[in-house]
Symmetry: none
Subunit: 417 residues, 2 copies
């Protein structure tokens, strides 16, 4: 398997505002042909560091791609540094200067003298034409290794890579095919997921697995390598099936979908409508549900009832329920879901009431205490959670747990039917 | 001037989908104290490359910050590699393991054995507490150089950096003072803002200005350098005042606050309450308003009325208003705001009705058509917008325009009072 490094060049990429994004596209193209990106470097207009970065990359990896730093101004140093890094000279190409002069003439301008720099190319490197800009690219071979020197703007480097670099790398990479899949898991911690599925993924040789924790879910990234599409797919399918056997319904998507997309699909498939009654999540759940295009087919309405008075008026909650059990209680959560379902006429309703903080916690009900309520034609149920984190995370985790609660109820109902 | 390198660790950062963004925030903080970021490296779960990257960085730069790779799973290798890179041992800390066990106990879970790894720390390094996660950070000094090893999640690494690393680097960086300010502007395009304020910022020598366009606002980043806090502050204040003279109320914050924070402050100051009636934004506006801690003091309630039936029932809109003008109209928007204010008893109410797409557009009302309604004791008003972008952007821009509409109404009322 060939390994690659990408080096992005430009001082603007070292500011608080900008980051390198060229490498994402390049990584996608490299991964397609089984070339793995092992390291990315972002370096400014600093000749010593750039030269060292390129030289180190050539030592470690099979494919090195640089982007940027090929313009005509003083601080564009990639040409010189890449030649130095591999111990070669820059060679002047008269036909490149003529071509540049012609380009400028077509734009109705005189070529500034500094643009002459763009007529120098690493000795022995292939010149990569650039129809979309003045800087040509270069492709140098160092023994079996490749150094591709590309301009920074995506509309210049992407066609250049596809037209002049991709096929050569593909040939050199052999016949490797990589199939990827992302499983999304909720309701487990990162280490619990890893303990449960490590025996599965470690038993495969040509499979890369990484486990990623985001604010309310675990992503399991699978990448299977094989010499054919069919073989790689078989591995991904097989591993997915084994993980599903172990984690069950906790895997809410095997296709990198969000929780709201998955729930929307289940509702659509079963022809059900939903409504939401939110307190501490403040509209986050309805916002997530309605983010999905076409959600108006199943999402009827939502209420954000912050005050007790609003809960009573909008959701017909008996005031004694709140008096007896408190606004943050299983009873109130269930009454909210019931009331919401009744006033909206939806098939199912969910509710959330809790304490997102930073204030409002008590010893009995600390910040993070959240009750999720659910209602359908069979009645109401609820579940208590205690979420760690700050206000933002507690709200997000509440929304995730609520959507997941409905998802699991509907899956259970389908199994029992 | 001290130089810094940032090393982001994690195989997910070498995929086509994800890139390192932690370094942007860190760069901002480092720049504030005159520390310049010279190189960034992104490395996966590859011990040899990571160790080399850290070792090289320590040779070249004064401050090295790593982010990520401190979790408990197999592929979290930062602890071991950073110790190796600087030729030190990892030392087991019994009290860290006890603390971890206690954290898990509080969550009602047993600590998985692999979490024990998180009790190992580089010999001689300061332990940086992490109230927001299980991985502690480390700060090692190598002669006059700093190696800070931070966890990956921003919610963990940012407070850790600010609480335990920033002051030490500031002291070491000497007396360069950089004062930054972020002005947030809405209602203008990027180039319009630049044309209006370029004559101001170009007249200062030691001022860096960058103008950044985000999904619904323009950020003007000012950074003034001087040898004293006072001098740098004077420049920032002066430039801010001049920009305010030119852009007026379009500048909604001179302190990098969100629109919902700014509106919350105005409501709090004036002792007013608010309620929201949303259609196409689906709860996004109430979600944003209630994201602010303490918002329960002014936010009374919200309704997400997707269907016409819900608009009529929940907001007492005359059904003939919708029949005559359509659900997406100035009349319906104003009726929604009026109804919301009346049923909730809030001082002001806002409403949004529009077409977020991808479906539902017509020649007269294409996707992106949005009406914002407003109601207070003086009556109702509304404004029509046509937002470009996809569903996500149209919804976001609608929420921003709605909050801004209320902000401007309240500012105008205060001026007229």
């Amino acid at each position: 398997m060939l390994t690659a490094e990408i080096i992005a060049i430009g001082s603007e990429l070292l500011t608080p505002e900008k980051t390198d994004t060229n490498s994402l596209w390049l990584t996608g193209r490299l991964n397609e042909i089984g070339v793995e990106v092992k390291l990315k470097t972002i370096v400014g207009d600093d000749a010593a560091r750039l030269e060292e970065a390129i030289a180190d990359a050539v030592k470690r990896s099979d494919v090195i791609i640089t982007t940027g730093g090929l313009g005509p101004t003083e601080d564009d140093i990639t040409r010189r540094c890449s030649a130095n890094a591999i111990g070669r000279e820059l060679v002047y190409h008269e036909e490149l200067e003529a071509h540049l002069r012609e380009r400028f003439r077509l734009w109705g301008r005189e070529m500034p003298e500094i643009n002459k720099r763009q007529a120098y190319v690493i000795d022995g490197a292939e010149i990569l034409p650039n129809p979309n800009g003045s800087a040509v690219g270069m492709l140098a071979k160092i023994d079996e290794k490749f150094l591709a020197v590309l301009p920074g703007p995506p509309r210049e480097n992407q066609p250049m890579f596809d037209n002049y670099v991709f096929a050569k790398l593909k040939e050199s990479a052999g016949n490797v095919i990589v199939k990827r899949r992302v499983l999304r898991v909720t309701g487990y911690g990162e280490s619990a997921v890893d303990e449960l599925i490590a025996p599965i993924y470690t038993s495969y040789q040509n499979l890369d697995t990484s486990i990623l924790f985001t604010k309310s879910e675990i992503e399991v990234h699978l990448a299977a390598r094989a010499d054919s599409d069919g073989k790689a797919s078989v591995v991904v399918e097989e591993v997915t099936k084994k993980i599903l056997d172990v984690l069950g319904d906790a895997v809410f998507s095997t296709d990198n979908e969000t929780m709201e997309q998955v729930l929307g699909k289940i509702l659509t498939k079963r022809g059900l409508t939903i409504s939401t009654a939110e307190s501490c999540t403040g509209g986050l759940i309805s916002r997530r549900l309605t983010e999905v295009p076409g959600s108006s087919k199943y999402f009827l309405e939502g209420v954000v009832s912050y005050s007790n008075e609003a809960k009573i008026r909008l959701l017909n909650i008996p005031s004694k329920t709140i008096e007896m059990h408190g606004a943050v209680s299983a009873e109130t959560a269930e009454a909210m879901a019931k009331g919401m379902r009744e006033v909206s006429g939806s098939d199912v309703a969910l509710s959330v009431t809790g304490i997102a903080g930073p204030d409002g916690g008590t010893p009995e009900k600390p910040v993070g205490t959240v009750f999720i309520g659910y209602s359908d034609t069979h009645g109401e149920m609820s579940r208590k959670f205690l979420f760690p984190g700050d206000r933002y995370l507690i709200r997000w985790r509440s929304s995730q747990a609520a959507l997941d609660y409905v998802r699991r109820r509907l899956l259970a109902a389908a199994k029992n039917a």
